[in-house]
Symmetry: C3
Subunit: 128 residues, 3 copies
């Protein structure tokens, strides 16, 4: 179960290519050598229409990603996974970053395996 | 303080009966033998218009629930609470699950009691 | 990296002055004696159109804030920060609280510093 949630400020929307970001993110997670079953990878983006950054005095924008994964991957695997997804983010927003105020950030968060419930018929497709 | 956040993909919206899901979820939490004061139970649903699941190649849908509760319930109480809410989710989406790609998931998350603040005039109604 | 996420129910929208809430919240964080670099402070608000509180039988409303901060501040600093932001929330919604059902709540959440990634050109503005 790998969940990726993007929040992005509305002033980036016209240039953000969110669909492309999500697809590239999933591909980066799929590429992590089988760490994350394909059928369990879910990314989404939430547009923020009301936000305030720093002193609110300029046209600041930000993208924040929360990557939630099941417990059980080791430190090196977690670091490599986070690095891979953040590399996607950095590349994806490189153009915007070069010409406007922009903060990119990501947090990695592990589920407590004792505290998750699942029911998913997509896994079967990828086991075929 | 029991908070329940649903995220659901927009391709489920027309058949999801979100209002019904939320009401049944609250009732399941209320039914947990006084574990959660009625006036502190808050559920909500966020519609996801931008998402990508797995390889993005089919009409996948998902519902993810985050159940946040205050610390202090024991392991058995936490398990029973999660089981009860997830049973609601499974029943609610059984029809959709039987005929389309769908992933249902839930995580349980405990607040650090040292780190919550509250001010709530709804409790008084249920103390009457 | 201080992130503040407000969720508020749609029945509060016309009287909530969300822009004012966000700006005051950022100012409260900036005022925490340099604990949070100005360029890393990001607040946002998400309007909840689908929610259910308690038994769902009255026109309940709620505002829930999630304050996410980097690890490394001590307990006293975390408490003072939470108190300062919650004081803003209490003051901001005092009028609404006095005349309708309303629950205000906040949780404080620390990032695991091993699990965050950042790239932010707003910091440079405030270092000048």
């Amino acid at each position: 179960m790998a969940h990726l949630i993007y929040e992005y400020t509305a002033n980036l929307a016209s240039e953000a290519d969110i669909a492309g970001l999500l697809l590239k993110s999933n591909r980066a997670l799929i590429a992590q050598s089988g760490l994350f079953p394909v059928g369990g990878i879910r990314s989404r983006a939430i547009r923020l229409d009301d936000w305030c950054m720093a002193d609110g005095e300029a046209d600041y924008g930000f993208v924040h990603a929360t990557l939630k994964i099941g417990a059980g991957r080791n430190k090196g695997e977690r670091q490599a996974t986070g690095d891979a997804v953040f590399a996607v983010i950095m590349e994806h927003f490189a153009g915007l970053y070069s010409r406007r105020y922009l903060a990119l950030s990501m947090e990695l968060y592990e589920f407590d395996e004792a505290g998750t419930w699942k029911h998913n018929n997509v896994h079967a497709k990828f086991r075929r």
